[in-house]
Symmetry: C2
Subunit: 452 residues, 2 copies
């Protein structure tokens, strides 16, 4: 028979078992954290009618989309989780309770040029709160608490959630008579870290034709920094000159006010006037999340407030606020940085039983009793030499091996080997199970990510 | 703006929040049951190169596949989880330990004619054990134990795992000199339940040109039934006439021998000589699982033993045994039958906090303390009338509501309403949390499926 060379498409992540277990653990932490805040899981189709996904139309996205026909139907693979959410909320409006809080962890597809660390199939892990007509600003204050919970449960401490408000920025530009250029100015300011203040000044004056005074005003505004209280106090000095600015400032102040109560420590949060987010979509609060020791990674969790989720499908005004974690890229980058905890559980089983007799009855019963105690148990059944069996145990990385030969069966014990320490001793099956259970419980507190 | 009518494609399941939570719970039970037996999770791409997925070629599958090009690449969506597994094992052979035990719960795609209860996007939940060169028959005995664990944890008792062995069937047909017609005979026998013994006899004699004596032999063989011991004893009377038959009988007997030790009760298991499975793929043990009170549903979990998983991609002989649950269809059918437990948790939160003051600080702190105890807590932040707030609580279906007004804040209590009983009383925040926690713990033992 002619063989076909097995391969996985470029830009598609396919993990080996140990890494997959680490990825699953990270996903489970995200899932349970989102649930803790009262978000409900959704699972929408990977495929939608193209007219639905492309309702907004235009732009880079359309070029990247996986689009095809099946029969007479023009279909596309989803390229984010927001457009399917918009469709879902418009379609099922009557059956939903608002504010509608949902999370979704799912794969999305973008046919980007393949390059290292860029994926064409990748997970996004999103939450959104959708209001019907209006949505209180307190929701915007809860979002950083959720980000904080997720990342601290993953094992991180050195991260900062950065927040700004587009109304503050747009209001400030309006004070300078620059409303029409606000989008371009934000994109210029967004480059501050990359090209420096002088570089931004040059763009503002040379490319956007601002006066030197206007450019100075913008740069000194952007340079405001300090504690959250200090930044908010500085912003107060601009109050009363533009209603949009004042509204944005009130929103920022409310978010800052509730954050402590929501459990976010001061050091993990900053009002940062340089954060703008590229997308036109956002209209109020915007979020980014930086790993402080790894600025090169960029934001690991971003989002913001928008006025109208589903305007392409319904006349109803559905404002919302949400964030997204680009999970596949995050996992890849953490691996590159050596930040995946090697002590985190990565074995398919807690214990491997190696029977040393032809008849497996005793081993089968032992496996059943361990499983009844909730221990992930594998029974090795192959007729191989001892060395091959031990190689198998090593390759799986199981923490414990139980040997069961004639002697053990006759004495009602098992030989229990701790594969980490190499220690081996004869124990009653219950005592062995206790020991394995204690280890498994200890492993539960092992974070999947370590800082370095 | 012109609106586009929101819709979800026909044949694609999209659940409302309550149903989605039930589906997720079922998935979680399957996942944890598979893990308990030492299977490791895999997550392979939804998209593969068409030459990989269609290596086997031909048949109905090819017509149903979602196939398209992106740039120059000929791509297809996976139509099952077995072909991607074959590719995975062939590709990553050197990095895997054999026997390789993996589970995968993922969506697959088949562009079938849309009809009620048929899905084009649906979940399969598969396990497979793959050996390198050989794989002990004891693995085949463990599979029914896994099926038993899954379905009993889901809440079912009235189900039966039916097992047969293709070597027994093929060996028996060989005794009758009918080896070349064995595939057709199996397909005829497969119709026994539908067309009856006389119908099958007519097919055997008229269509397949068997003699009346051959047809009688086949029908009396198929009619063997009784306890597992009785069926195996009847089969012993055929021993010694065909080596393949004898091998199959030994395998069946070994599987039956270990089943009790693996924890499968007699009443949930039957050696059933009418089970053949349509696919040529299977070479030994075959499984089906019937819901005894709902024969119309057909098998809810099927699978078997195969000789060569990855023959299209590698010269290595990789025998395996596995099963698959068609999860989306199962969930749909259970819903149709009214078998989804209405008492199973279906709310996005365990408790909803309704603040009765403008300042939310006290409510925010309360939410944070409940979340610190692991309770899924939603804080309602909208400035609505009391009635609207209660309607919201009702629509979400949360089991508990905590009211927090000036009085409660000043007295250091919360008004705790049990939404099931309607009872409301003032409690300390800790006492309220205790009450909610007790309810949540009780709910954990609620099975997602009820029999009726």
């Amino acid at each position: 028979m002619e063989r076909i060379k097995p391969r996985t498409l470029s830009g598609f992540m396919e993990l080996l078992p140990g890494a997959q277990l680490q990825m699953d653990r990270i996903m489970e932490i995200i899932r349970s954290s989102y649930s803790l805040y009262g978000f409900t899981p959704l699972d929408t189709p990977l495929i939608e009618a193209s007219e639905i996904l492309l309702a907004k139309g235009g732009g880079e996205t359309e070029k990247q989309i996986y689009r095809f026909t099946k029969g007479d139907t023009d279909l596309s693979l989803r390229f984010d989780l927001t457009v399917p959410l918009a469709k879902y909320v418009a379609l099922h409006y009557a059956d939903l309770a608002f504010p509608f809080r949902r999370f979704q962890i799912g794969k999305v597809y973008r046919g980007e040029r393949a390059q290292r660390g860029r994926f064409r199939e990748f997970y996004q892990a999103d939450i959104d709160v959708i209001g019907d007509g209006q949505l209180d600003i307190a929701n915007d204050a809860e979002i950083p608490a959720i980000i904080y919970t997720v990342f601290s449960r993953l094992g991180l401490r050195r991260f900062q959630i950065r927040i700004n408000n587009r109304k503050v920025l747009n209001g400030f530009y309006a004070m300078l008579g620059l409303t029409e250029k606000s989008g371009e100015i934000m994109r210029a300011v967004d480059k501050l870290e990359k090209i420096g203040a002088d570089g931004v000044r040059a763009v503002l004056t040379d490319e956007l034709s601002l006066t030197a005074a206007q450019a100075d005003d913008i740069l000194s505004f952007t340079a405001i920094h300090g504690t959250n209280d200090a930044v908010l106090a500085s912003l107060e000095s601009y109050r009363g000159r533009n209603p949009l600015f004042d509204e944005g400032l009130d929103e920022l102040a409310t978010v800052a006010k509730y954050l402590g109560g929501f459990g976010v420590p001061q050091e993990n949060f900053a009002v940062d006037l340089t954060i703008a987010r590229g997308l036109d979509y956002y209209t109020g609060t915007v979020y980014e999340t930086a790993l402080l020791d790894h600025p090169e990674i960029g934001s690991v969790c971003s989002g913001g407030r928008y006025d109208n989720l589903a305007e392409y499908y319904t006349d109803r005004q559905l404002p919302g606020v949400g964030i997204s974690i680009g999970l596949t890229r995050l996992f890849y980058v953490l691996g590159e940085q050596g930040m995946l905890n090697p002590d985190a559980p990565a074995a398919p089983a807690d214990v491997l039983i190696l029977p040393m007799t032809d008849d497996l009855s005793a081993a089968v019963s032992l496996a059943t009793s361990l499983r009844a105690r909730g221990l992930r148990t594998q029974l090795y059944t192959e007729a191989k030499k001892f060395k091959a069996k031990m190689n198998y145990a090593d390759k799986l990385g199981v923490p414990f091996v139980l040997f069961l030969g004639e002697d053990e069966i006759n004495s009602g014990v098992v030989s229990c080997k701790n594969m980490r320490s190499g220690e081996q001793e004869k124990l009653s099956p219950d005592a062995a199970a206790d020991r394995i259970e204690a280890f498994v419980k200890g492993q539960l507190s092992t974070a999947p990510i370590i800082e370095k």
